[in-house]
Structure formats: structure tokens, C-alpha cells
């Protein structure tokens, strides 16, 4: 073994990392080579000295500072997540609304054709106990005081594509049978018709004739109210939907009758239109009592549905 080869093995020899043959050859060389022996001894002294270097203590504030930094990092992480959510919130919301819309549409059968659609809507809404028009108005923040000035929801929402938003019974006879079967257990207190003035000017005669054909009658001019025999509400709604397709009309039904229906109805009729169908005080001029037929008896009133025409000026 020459000295250069020996020098390459010093480090491994110190660490006992040489195989037996290499170690023996190196030892043999150093026994005869004073220079290599000195080099080895110098290197080993240095390594031994390194191993005796003592560890220094951790600074006293280290853990406290680390704790604060960890808290800071955690907050950054949270802010990062919050930022991500904030940044993509609009996209997420749009997706959620889309998914919800598709889900609702699928539930209501909107993908099955227009005629089936309304029937399914009616069933769905009945099953879910649709909110009354009054409640709708309250939610929209309008017409709390005067239902007559209530905006048509479709207009308010800028949805001009739907000329008629009919929360109605099905126009399809087969579907209607189902709806009527369902309505055996339900009776509408009030059917609210929200209609623009322009639309009403065009179809007021039709509405009056339709109601009259059903045996209904005008009971109030202000608010404009008719009454029709109970059980004709669905037919009224469907006729409105089918025949007035080009008009801005929203028809909304109120929930099932309650125990005080008679009282409410009598109040509406006997009060000369001072109160709305939901009992709230009405504004505006008094109705033309002369044009009204005689108030219904409580018994007959209990068997009737009020059709309230809300004209949006």
C-alpha cells in the first residue's frame, strides 16, 4: 500500500468502516511509514476533539418565541383557507344555486314538458304547503300595507321571460284529476292574482266572465275581490294559466282553511273592503258597495274561495 492510498483510508479507519483486509493493510503500512502514522494521528486527534465539543444550551426564550410563531403560522393558514373560500365564494355560490335549481327543477318535473310541469309544481307546492301571497309580499319587502301595490314577483326579479308564473293546478286533465283528488282535502281561502294594470285592462272582462261561469260573484271593489265556490279554485287557476299566456300574471294560493276562515271571510265582505284577505288594514278609497252582491252567509262563505285581484300600477 502506498501513502496516497493510505491517506484515503484514514477516515474510514477512524470510524471503523473499513473491511478487515483494508484495515490490516493500512495498519501494516502505518507501522512502517512514520509520515502516514503522523497524518493519521493528527486526523484522529482532530476528530476526537470534535466529538468532545459540548452542546450549547437552548436559549431560554426559544420555546416561547416558537410558540408565538406557531400561533402566527396557524393564523396564516386559517387566513389562507378563508382567502381561498372568499376568492372562490362567488363561483361556489353560483354552482350551488345552479345545482339547487336543477335539483328543484328535476323534483318538479320541469324537464318533462310544459303541461306536466305545472301539474307537478302544483302537487309539489301543495305538498309543501305553499306560502301565501301575503307572506310572499312580506318577504319581498313590498305591499305590507297595501297588497294592491304589490309588485309582481316576476317583474320585481326582472324575470320577464316568464309571462305567467302560475302556482297552479295542472292543466293536463289527467294531472288535474290527481290535483283535484288532492284538493279534496284542501280548500283555498284566497287565490291572489297579481297582475299588471296593462294586463288587467286587457283581460278584466275575461276574468269576470270566468268567475261568473263558475258561479262566482264580486264581493269587493277595493280590494277587488270575487268569490267562487270552493272546488273551483284549481279550475280557475288553470284557466287563467291556459288562456292568459301572454300576460304578466302571478297566481298564488293561500294555505288550507283554518278554523277562523268564516270570521275572516265575513269580515272581508261585511267590512266593505276595508281589510285585505289576510285581515290587514287596507288603504285607498272605499269600494263601490252598490256593485256588490249580497254578502254570503257564513255557511256559504265557508264553502267559497276568495279571488283577490291585485293590480300593480
Amino acid at each position: 500500500m502506498d501513502c496516497s492510498k493510505a491517506a484515503e483510508l484514514f477516515s474510514g479507519y477512524i470510524d471503523n468502516m473499513l473491511d478487515d483486509d483494508e484495515a490490516a493493510m493500512l495498519k501494516e503500512h502505518m507501522d512502517t511509514c512514520a509520515t502516514c502514522r503522523q497524518e493519521y494521528e493528527a486526523l484522529k486527534t482532530m476528530v476526537d476533539k470534535c466529538r468532545k465539543l459540548e452542546e450549547t444550551d437552548l436559549p431560554v426564550d426559544f420555546e416561547r418565541d416558537l410558540h408565538e410563531r406557531l400561533l402566527s403560522e396557524k393564523m396564516k393558514l386559517k387566513r389562507g383557507v378563508a382567502f381561498f373560500i372568499k376568492r372562490y365564494r362567488a363561483v361556489a355560490a353560483a354552482f350551488l344555486i345552479f345545482a339547487l335549481s336543477v335539483s328543484i327543477a328535476a323534483t318538479m318535473g320541469l324537464f318533462e314538458g310544459s303541461r306536466n310541469k305545472s301539474g307537478t309544481i302544483a302537487e309539489s307546492l301543495r305538498a309543501n304547503d305553499l306560502k301565501s301571497a301575503g307572506e310572499m309580499a312580506e318577504e319581498s319587502g313590498t305591499a305590507d300595507e297595501n297588497p294592491q301595490t304589490a309588485e309582481i314577483p316576476s317583474q320585481k326579479e326582472g324575470n320577464n321571460d316568464n309571462k305567467i308564473m302560475m302556482f297552479s293546478a295542472p292543466a293536463d286533465p289527467e294531472k288535474r284529476e290527481g290535483a283535484n283528488a288532492m284538493s279534496e282535502n284542501l280548500s283555498y281561502d284566497v287565490v291572489n292574482v297579481y297582475i299588471s294594470k296593462a294586463a288587467y285592462d286587457k283581460c278584466s272582462q275575461y276574468i269576470a266572465s270566468l268567475i261568473e261561469s263558475m258561479g262566482g260573484q264580486l264581493i269587493s271593489q277595493q280590494p277587488l275581490q270575487y268569490t267562487i265556490p270552493e272546488g273551483y279554485a284549481d279550475e280557475f287557476i288553470n284557466k287563467m294559466k291556459d288562456d292568459l299566456k301572454t300576460e304578466d300574471i302571478v297566481v298564488s294560493t293561500e294555505g288550507a282553511s283554518e278554523e277562523n276562515d268564516n270570521l275572516k271571510f265575513e269580515k272581508n265582505t261585511a267590512g266593505g273592503g276595508q281589510n285585505g284577505s289576510d285581515g290587514r288594514e287596507m288603504s285607498g278609497s272605499e269600494g263601490k258597495e252598490d256593485d256588490l252582491k249580497k254578502p254570503l252567509s257564513p255557511q256559504k262563505a265557508a264553502e267559497s274561495t276568495i279571488i283577490q285581484i291585485n293590480i300593480n300600477q
Partner: protein, 223 residues
């Protein structure tokens, strides 16, 4: 005298006798540590502090030997701990947790040294007549043998700082902290052959620097 080095966390026990590793055992995560790792992944700071507590001193010391400055070592050690906290979800237990911790420590230190390459730390001693003067030790207050020992220790500490980072880390991990070749291989992600050659090179460079200051005896010992 045999030197027993019990690794931080109790997961590695390495017995070094007369500078030679006689037995070294590395175990993977035990239950408490595994639980702490899982909790740390979920952002549990308390769990992470318990987990890292037994490694902090070693991290700081590796950084200190790499930088030669306590404040720099403090900053680097803090950075290492934060980096471990932020990336603990990447630890899969393929190696021991300690190996993973010191791999990050080594990488951060080497990166930092490279950033400062233009500012290689010079020896803080002045050169007079070809000899290094070590001003940090008062010779009058120490016996000759102790002085020489302190002198050499201090010279080694300073000369290590003159090595390139990749050689510096070899001296720090192997000769100062006593890790095995295999552990160093995993920590630095280099093969065993590279560990051997790089360590040999690092030691010879360090020896040459010490000898240049007449701080390393060339006398042959009785063997």
C-alpha cells in the same frame, strides 16, 4: 472513556466507544410520537410542541455549528421548527422522525450557508508570524493542557466555519454529533460512498486548516 449518546426523543441509541460506533439502533415512530404527529398534522400546536421539544436543542446546535453564531442559529432553528410544522403532513414514516427532522435541519442550514457564501465567516483571530492567536481564552487562567485543549477546540470551531457547507455539515453530523454513515446518508439523501468520500475530504480540509495555524500537532503518538 465510552461515550453514550442517547438520541433525542429516545428513538435512537448510539453507543460510541473510542470514536467508533459500536451499536446503533434506529426505530420508527412509537405510539406516542405517532399520535403527536397525527395531532400536529391537524394543527394541534400543543402536540407539535411536545413532539419537537426533544429535538430543539439538537436542531439549534447543528445550526450553531454550521453558522458559528448563536443568533443566526436561533433564527435558523426557529425556521426549521416552523418548516417542520408546516410540512409535517408530508412525513410518512419511511424514515425515523429524527432522520426527517435533521434532514430538514441540514437542508435549511446548507441553503442558508449558500445564501451567505459571499460572506464566508473568517476566523476571528489575527494572524501573527504565521500563527493563529486565539483571543477568547485567557491562557493565564488555565493549565497548559487545558489551555491547549480549549485552544484546539476553539480553533476547530472556527476552522469548521471556513469549510464549504457540504463539507461543514459532514463534520457537524459525524464528528460533532456522532451520526452513523447510514444516518447521514438518509439525512442528506446521498449514498454511502459519497458519505465516505465527502467525510474524508472534509476531515482533510479541516486538518489542513488547523495545521496551517500550527494548531494541530504532527507528532506521532505511541501506538
Amino acid at each position: 472513556m465510552p461515550k453514550q449518546s442517547t438520541h433525542v426523543g429516545g428513538f435512537r441509541t448510539c453507543r460510541v466507544i473510542n470514536g467508533k460506533s459500536m451499536h446503533c439502533e434506529v426505530r420508527n415512530l412509537n405510539y406516542p410520537e405517532k399520535e403527536l404527529v397525527i395531532r400536529s398534522r391537524n394543527g394541534d400546536i400543543e402536540a407539535f410542541e411536545k413532539l419537537i421539544q426533544s429535538y430543539e436543542k439538537r436542531i439549534f446546535n447543528i445550526a450553531y455549528r454550521m453558522t458559528g453564531d448563536r443568533e443566526d442559529a436561533y433564527d435558523i432553528a426557529q425556521e426549521v421548527c416552523i418548516k417542520i410544522f408546516k410540512s409535517i403532513d408530508k412525513f410518512r414514516g419511511d424514515s425515523s422522525f429524527s432522520t426527517w427532522v435533521y434532514r430538514i435541519t441540514s437542508n435549511v442550514c446548507i441553503d442558508e450557508m449558500r445564501k451567505r457564501k459571499a460572506n464566508v465567516i473568517p476566523l476571528t483571530v489575527s494572524v501573527s508570524d504565521g500563527e493563529y492567536e486565539i483571543p477568547v481564552v485567557d491562557r493565564d487562567k488555565l493549565p497548559d493542557e487545558a489551555y491547549e485543549s480549549r485552544e484546539l477546540s476553539e480553533a476547530i470551531r472556527l476552522c469548521i466555519l471556513q469549510l464549504e457547507p457540504e463539507y461543514r455539515i459532514m463534520i457537524v453530523l459525524r464528528d460533532i454529533h456522532g451520526y452513523t454513515y447510514e444516518e447521514i446518508s438518509k439525512m442528506l439523501n446521498i449514498n454511502m460512498g459519497t458519505v465516505k468520500s465527502r467525510l474524508n475530504r472534509a476531515r482533510n480540509l479541516l486538518k489542513d486548516k488547523l495545521r496551517a495555524g500550527n494548531l494541530l500537532s504532527t507528532k506521532s503518538s505511541n501506538q
